[in-house]
Symmetry: D2
Subunit: 349 residues, 4 copies
Amino acid sequence: MAKIKVGIAGATGMVGQRFVQLLESHPWFELSELAASENSAGKTYQEAVKGRWKLTADIPEYARKMKVKECLPNLDCQIVFSALDANVAGEIEQAFAKKGYIVSSNSRNHRMEPDVPLLVPEVNADHLRLVEKQKKNRNWKGFIITNPNCSTIHMVLALKPIQDAFGIEKVMVTTMQALSGAGYPGVASLDILDNVVPYIGGEEEKIEAETLKLLGKMKNGKADNALMNVSASCNRVNVSDGHLESVSVKLERTATEKDIVKAFESFNPLKELNLPSSPSRPIIYREEPDRPQPKLDRNNEKGMASTVGRVRKCRVLDYKFSVLGHNTIRGAAGAAILNAELMKAKGYI
Amino acid sequence: MAKIKVGIAGATGMVGQRFVQLLESHPWFELSELAASENSAGKTYQEAVKGRWKLTADIPEYARKMKVKECLPNLDCQIVFSALDANVAGEIEQAFAKKGYIVSSNSRNHRMEPDVPLLVPEVNADHLRLVEKQKKNRNWKGFIITNPNCSTIHMVLALKPIQDAFGIEKVMVTTMQALSGAGYPGVASLDILDNVVPYIGGEEEKIEAETLKLLGKMKNGKADNALMNVSASCNRVNVSDGHLESVSVKLERTATEKDIVKAFESFNPLKELNLPSSPSRPIIYREEPDRPQPKLDRNNEKGMASTVGRVRKCRVLDYKFSVLGHNTIRGAAGAAILNAELMKAKGYI
Amino acid sequence: MAKIKVGIAGATGMVGQRFVQLLESHPWFELSELAASENSAGKTYQEAVKGRWKLTADIPEYARKMKVKECLPNLDCQIVFSALDANVAGEIEQAFAKKGYIVSSNSRNHRMEPDVPLLVPEVNADHLRLVEKQKKNRNWKGFIITNPNCSTIHMVLALKPIQDAFGIEKVMVTTMQALSGAGYPGVASLDILDNVVPYIGGEEEKIEAETLKLLGKMKNGKADNALMNVSASCNRVNVSDGHLESVSVKLERTATEKDIVKAFESFNPLKELNLPSSPSRPIIYREEPDRPQPKLDRNNEKGMASTVGRVRKCRVLDYKFSVLGHNTIRGAAGAAILNAELMKAKGYI
Amino acid sequence: MAKIKVGIAGATGMVGQRFVQLLESHPWFELSELAASENSAGKTYQEAVKGRWKLTADIPEYARKMKVKECLPNLDCQIVFSALDANVAGEIEQAFAKKGYIVSSNSRNHRMEPDVPLLVPEVNADHLRLVEKQKKNRNWKGFIITNPNCSTIHMVLALKPIQDAFGIEKVMVTTMQALSGAGYPGVASLDILDNVVPYIGGEEEKIEAETLKLLGKMKNGKADNALMNVSASCNRVNVSDGHLESVSVKLERTATEKDIVKAFESFNPLKELNLPSSPSRPIIYREEPDRPQPKLDRNNEKGMASTVGRVRKCRVLDYKFSVLGHNTIRGAAGAAILNAELMKAKGYI
């Protein structure tokens, strides 16, 4: 099978760098195009990210000499992974989709549009069907799919098996989010050393809205919002990677702690598809009282799993637990790649 | 007025050190005795804390040469401030109270006993009356009063004006607690660098139980528990001092955001008493979207105030906000000293 | 005595903020003018630093409502403290000096000019005499004096008593510098968490050159460079404030460890002048094997002292020790204020 | 070829854990025995390290169920890797060697004994010959070899090519050492957050002494100390893994910067031996002005390489540079394993 050519729009930022890293030797996709702002266009990728490459491992050899192009819909590829800044992502992604590209976006711009799938493959794979409507509505040859905000993804992965088994009425979450979620240079060191910042602009609104769409059901070709209340409080902590979240849920039906742990541990809806980036277990449950921890659990399943721990009774809602996941892998670039793999497996490509 | 002689039991640990620091030049109290374990007894205070003095400012001159004694009820003082470890505090504090000492304890051992006041002066000063019953019940000449856990104090300070004005049905709190709360050596650096630990042994239970007692009303000489549900999730973050808490509340009566902010800002029940350690404002409300922060707000009012910010609607309960306070000053040693000042002002000494 | 009116050029940056803080209630100086870039001009100081005030303590009340002006030589003040960026400081400072202002600058631009005093009052107060030549050379009514780079100041304070007593041939220094030295936003948190960066642009050259000028002698109205070799290696560490330096020296004459410690402890050349910002001891020597430490020693003498420890034999040069000091107080704003106080005391104002 | 059975003495500490990790699937060695203190003996390895496993990756599956034994010379293995505490390592290692075991030790106890090789394979492989004398001197069937202190190894790797090409007269080094070097729990978080500690007990002496032995030549069956002066200043920084060192050297013969970089880059004395743990390049030279950095370079070549950067003139000695390496891999467990591989390749096993 010939590999599918893919490009990255916004290739020089932190999420763009993760795309480059995760697409190295991908079994289905071949990175053929790197695109970024005018400043970078014309340079080799190596030059373009000079002084801004922020992953611990070096720039993969295969991408160093690739020429960076502008984000115009004339790239030689079938899929465009978008890691664009929200202030430009809207129009650029539309331009690509109009011309027939499949856009798998990590940007927030189109997430909440009714005909754009907001997708976590283990959670709402059937929302992919919205793309038919999208193409028709907009008279586009291509289409846009999106993945949620980094905090939302990991929480929703943990909520989904609970929703399926017991129903969910209410969700309260307090996040402790990593620095890489703010991009680069992002958070100034003087602002976060020996500190926590109890605010991340726009984040609480995103978590509250996206969760409802993700956990909603398809009905008559539309994705209805889930009927639940979600409340989020977001904090920035001095951690490089890995968002930790304290979550409480009110269930529709009774369950024991064991029931809930079992729901986590048996959750694996994509098992049959064998997607290349799919974790062997999307949720890892740790029994220890002090897990999950960012430092110890963010790289589980190459950063593609959510790790859950501390399931216990909640005196206000029903149960509470902690969930942790890598914010720039499963929470961003890895999510968009998994979405593209799902499209391929489902015949959309 | 001659000053009241006071001693510290457990003077060499982190909270003990804070007592020594905060009692320097106290207008009402004179530190006359330092007591600690057998290991330290007989040494000067300076020798006893050698290599273990963990406050940024040096050991106060006045305490350096004082001889450390054993924690036996033969100290030359009227009040004993207890910063003892929970594994020894129970018996030692009782021994002192039996002999006629007034024990103002930061330890958890006696907090939940029905005839022992668990006290935050701005919140439940009238609980002091329990000491009459305590002396009678136990046939003691002295008595024990206690202050709550460090996380509880700051949350309850913020809850009190809301309870008074609008009633509270439910409270959810997620804490992000500082390292000094674990004492010294406490948390290993390798466990917390680039990390958050979602667990502090016993802490959630303390917050959930103590809050009910503190917000309960005196009735027929007994302190009834408040009728509300409290759920706590506790996390340790890489911050030296200052516990930050994300709190959501369900009210009994409707209120606007402005009403709640006004309740915070007008809260000052101790104003008339002019206690030496009393902050001029027990709650400081910050309008900025990203406050309170440990680094910026922990030392407000010399560490004796709680700082609150981000009052906003909660989609699951009614309102949410962040509260922050110094955990070893207002959250421990300063709390016990303020309690003693209240006793003095109320004529119990 | 009426206070001398002073202004701050570059009042909104990190060093500018320190000037505002340190000049509050200054006994000799009255802050009458705040000047900054066009962006800030016309705003109140409070508005101008909104979101950029980075000191732990809040903006002093006295400065909040002051109007920020442009950095033009029409300010109503006699002394201008300059905290300007190096890319604009050169011309602006000259413009002020030409018009008759006394400029006490923290910027690097004029430091190495032969007729500009590079001044640490305890070290080379006699270099002040260069200002006569400067005024004459340049036909200016006012003049410029400068303080050294933050790392240089603390090292030179420690070297001076050694030079006076035993002579110095060679100096090797490795610095571990704080984040605030890079201004704000400065170092990105992702670059320094769990890391050290072995490079600070231009810093090694500044330390090597400035030290020679500072330790040089006045001769025939000129400041000769000291005849010694200085080699610096600079590292950025994850510390908010306080530069720590490992220093080795080769002496001209023999000395014992005790001799050197005694030289540190007896060093107090400004004692008689009673300058308001002068520390009671410019060098604090700590006997403990693990001092000085940034967290424990940066605020000694309100951040105006250098703290030294660990004097011991060096197998390559003669002796080595560690020195630590606050980089934005004694290392910047406090240094420039002390220089102005010296000028006043010496009759230059 | 049947694998050689190896055991670990001190298997539960931080370096012991690294041995367990690095020996997984080793092509020449098979881990057959785990030994530790009485407390751990009898437990499975998993139980023994419960709450103390401090590597980011989980306990390797292969070791979990292995029974931990006491450190007595009745283990079923040929080589014993020692990660014992210095207070017990001396006698235990001797007991093993006496009984015929080959002991490859990371402990400091025997390092400086004249008949014990202190070994870095790329630096002084010929010192292995000392074991003949050792066996004879002590009438032992087995023998002890040692690897140096973690800071020494990386510095000496960088010094060796310079020594070979240009000779070295003097070495000055200031270290910035990682937390894992202090073991677990090691450094308290309150001592190192927002701080640097300018002291590590015994470390400077070790670096100064071990370097001379390592760079010394074999002559008449003895390892003479190198004739050079070494001076070390050691600091602890808030970094998890990776010691960074600022080094200056005085050469015996002239060299250009390019010469020195070339010496680093062409250094690969073990190339022909193809040892399994040998890095393909023992020294990686980075051209960027701000490398090496702990976070970015500690894992180069699976933690077995030293990374060097910033070669430049020194105004006091001749040249200076920075060197960085992983302190518990190449600086400890990996070093001892590489030493054992060398022994095997050289026919000592």
